[in-house]
């Protein structure tokens, strides 16, 4: 696999935390290509089970379940960003019910009223 998951993870880490205006502009210019690449990454991630990530003669990288979960979620969020789906994501999060999470509190900065 030419584009290894390790590289993707690194790209994501950089992209999410320190994206410059220039890189953002570059990203917009090649958006369709980036979307296609990201779809491939996601499909590979989801198909790979116990991810075996190698590039050339690099030693095998075996991800733990937690690491794999984190990688999938980060890549999904990145994909949502690429397809400009942020608002739909937020709406969907508000609709979803997570028993242990106060979604309203997280998204709107205040807790649910007592009932």
């Amino acid at each position: 696999m030419k584009m290894t998951l390790k590289v993707v993870a690194l790209l994501l880490a950089i992209g999410a935390s320190a994206q410059t205006i220039k890189s953002y502009a570059d990203e917009i210019a090649s958006l369709p290509e980036l979307i296609t690449e990201q779809e491939t990454v996601l499909v590979n991630l989801l198909n790979n089970g116990k991810a075996e990530l190698r590039e050339g003669n690099e030693p095998q990288v075996v991800l733990t379940e937690e690491e794999k979960k984190e990688l999938i979620i980060k890549n999904m969020v990145h994909y949502i960003r690429l397809i400009e789906g942020k608002e739909i994501l937020l709406e969907e999060l508000q609709r979803q019910q997570f028993p242990d999470l106060d979604i309203r509190g997280i998204l709107e900065g205040r807790q649910n009223p007592g009932i």
């Binding site: 649910n112 009223p113 007592g114 009932i115």
Partner: protein, 263 residues
Amino acid sequence: MKIQYIENKNSNLNLVFVSGGPGLSSLSFKPLVNLSDNFNLHFLDAMGTTSELKTEPNYSNLLEEIEDYISNISNVVLCGHSFGGIQAIDITSKINTNIIGLIVIGSPVTENAFKILNQNFDIELSQAHIDISKKLEDSPTNEIYKEWFFVYRDFYFNPKTSINSIKVITDDTVCVKSYSNAIAESATKEECLQSLKNLNIPKLFITGELDRVMPPSSAKHEADIGGFDLAVINDAGHFVHYEHPNETIELINNFLSKMGGKK
């Protein structure tokens, strides 16, 4: 959990009160004590209120202690207020054969009801409301939880009398940890309400005319989905049973007297 039991030797029906909050004791139900003329009464104080926390007061654990208690009682009619009503609906939806009736007071259950609740909650917010919410978020103590209710008293009681009614919370022994740990999951029980529709036991939904948590139109929606009879008490807010105990007692007596000699 701590229980106050009032026995009526002439009755085989057990009326079990489950409080809201989460984290309030059964104090608001005490004005209904005259129901003991007709029934056995069980006032449940969830762990953390009038007794020590035995475990993490999340939704599941709070539900379990109620289930454990009523599992040893026959002919149970659950009567839950607000969050307690959601718990009562949850328990009843599991088809416990010892539950023969259900009374719910002002409980939002569906997504629609929570949407209306939150819309109403955001109306006429002052800086004091915003400040106390921030204070509770930063320092979730029992005292600040009570203070929070005090600032929001018009949201929960008839505004004309809220300054007196709020004492039922400020005088209570509350558990903010139950609120913090259980409130989110309480909004995930719509399927439980839906499943009650076909459950053939008497079900009564009570709300206050002035209830901003559960306005009558919203209550009708919830009652229809769960197959409840609906009763609206005039001039009452969210703590309808506390603000208008006599009307509530009359409603419950009439409702339970229809249950064929169980009284």
